[in-house]
Amino acid sequence: MARPEVWTLAELRSAALHRAVAWVTPAARATVARELEGLGLHLATPAVFVRDAIDLGVVESVDTLVVVGGGALMDRAKLLRRARAGSLRLIVVPSIWGSGAEVSRVAVQGPVEGQPGEGKRIIVDPALVPDVRVEWPELVARVPQERARLASGDAWAHVLEALVSPLAAEDVRRDAAALVQRMLAMPLTQHADWMECSRRACELQARSSVGLVHGIAHTLEAPLRSREPGEGWGHARLCSLFLWPVLRLNQQASQKWQSHVDAAELESSALLERARELFSVEDYRRTLPVLVAEWSRVVRDPCARTNVSVVRPQSLEWFRTLVP
């Protein structure tokens, strides 16, 4: 499997970036401007696509795109670079862990603006793997505590859905079990190992599948953002929120979930306890009406169709009655 070259921040600083555009998440913009000052980077505003910047002549002859941000921003850049048939070098600098987008050949294409009902599409293509990933620990260390918790939940959803995926081979289940053991020893806050663990979790789900947690997150993100703009409804928050309900649904709907957990020599109670720590009753009550409204789309989502238990139209009742 193709992997990006790994650079340090010093190597990024010494690279030829005079024909580069940087696309930076707002939270890291000041730090990037300060640390990479003098390199001649053009910092595109987050609202401006790099394509627009090029077309508008903001930067002539752009040959490199530097992306500093999380999974959504990296995925957008990966898809843009793929559309340019490899003529653009892509350097990614993850500002948070969780998605593993910095190493994966998977990208999630968001709904087209103005068409939130279309949902998300998963694209798998080796051409999506970035050319370079930069390790910048100081940048990641500044992640606020709540974002750190949700990013950890994203990684947990990846590894647990890979562990029990109907498409996972034995080596994937074995690797996932080892990673789960390691992650159980880590807090749901800042930890030096999260970036590496989330990369591994992402690689495991790319070798198997994700399941209903991702089916729900991908379906609900756009309607929730439309209904509650500015409330921070994003992928990691939804994966964190629905991990515990889905684990419990799988546990009661199918013996397969328990048999995979037993085969991995894991304690289901420990997994459920960790997932429960990521759950929020308040958020669940806010999302439930949207889940009900969107359920017919959830059951058709490709991720839901590779869940460890069959996701049925009547499975909605489980979610309706979970929290009194």
């Binding site: 199918s254 169709r305 590779t306 238990s309 049925r312």
Partner: protein, 81 residues
């Protein structure tokens, strides 16, 4: 619930078809959602409902309701009556 009824419910749930669309001679080519992901989901559902885990090759080879019944009968799961 008889095994025939269980199988019908499984098809409705996995392929999201209406009861009026289900027939005992229903074929894969007639069901839009019986695609590669449908193959995975049907395999999961067969194990969940009947306790038999089809191999990937067996799941891929299923092309009709009679195929599913024949596979399950070959594993001792009866569909008489």
């Amino acid at each position: 619930m008889t095994n025939h009824q269980k199988l019908e419910q499984l098809f409705l749930d996995v392929f999201l078809i209406e009861p009026s669309e289900y027939r005992l001679d229903l074929r894969r080519s007639e069901v839009d959602t019986w695609d590669s992901l449908g193959v995975v989901s049907l395999g999961v559902g067969i194990e969940e409902t009947f306790g038999y885990h089809p191999t990937p090759a067996e799941a891929r080879a299923l092309a009709s309701v009679p195929d599913v019944i024949a596979l399950l009968e070959s594993r001792g799961i009866g569909f008489d009556g």
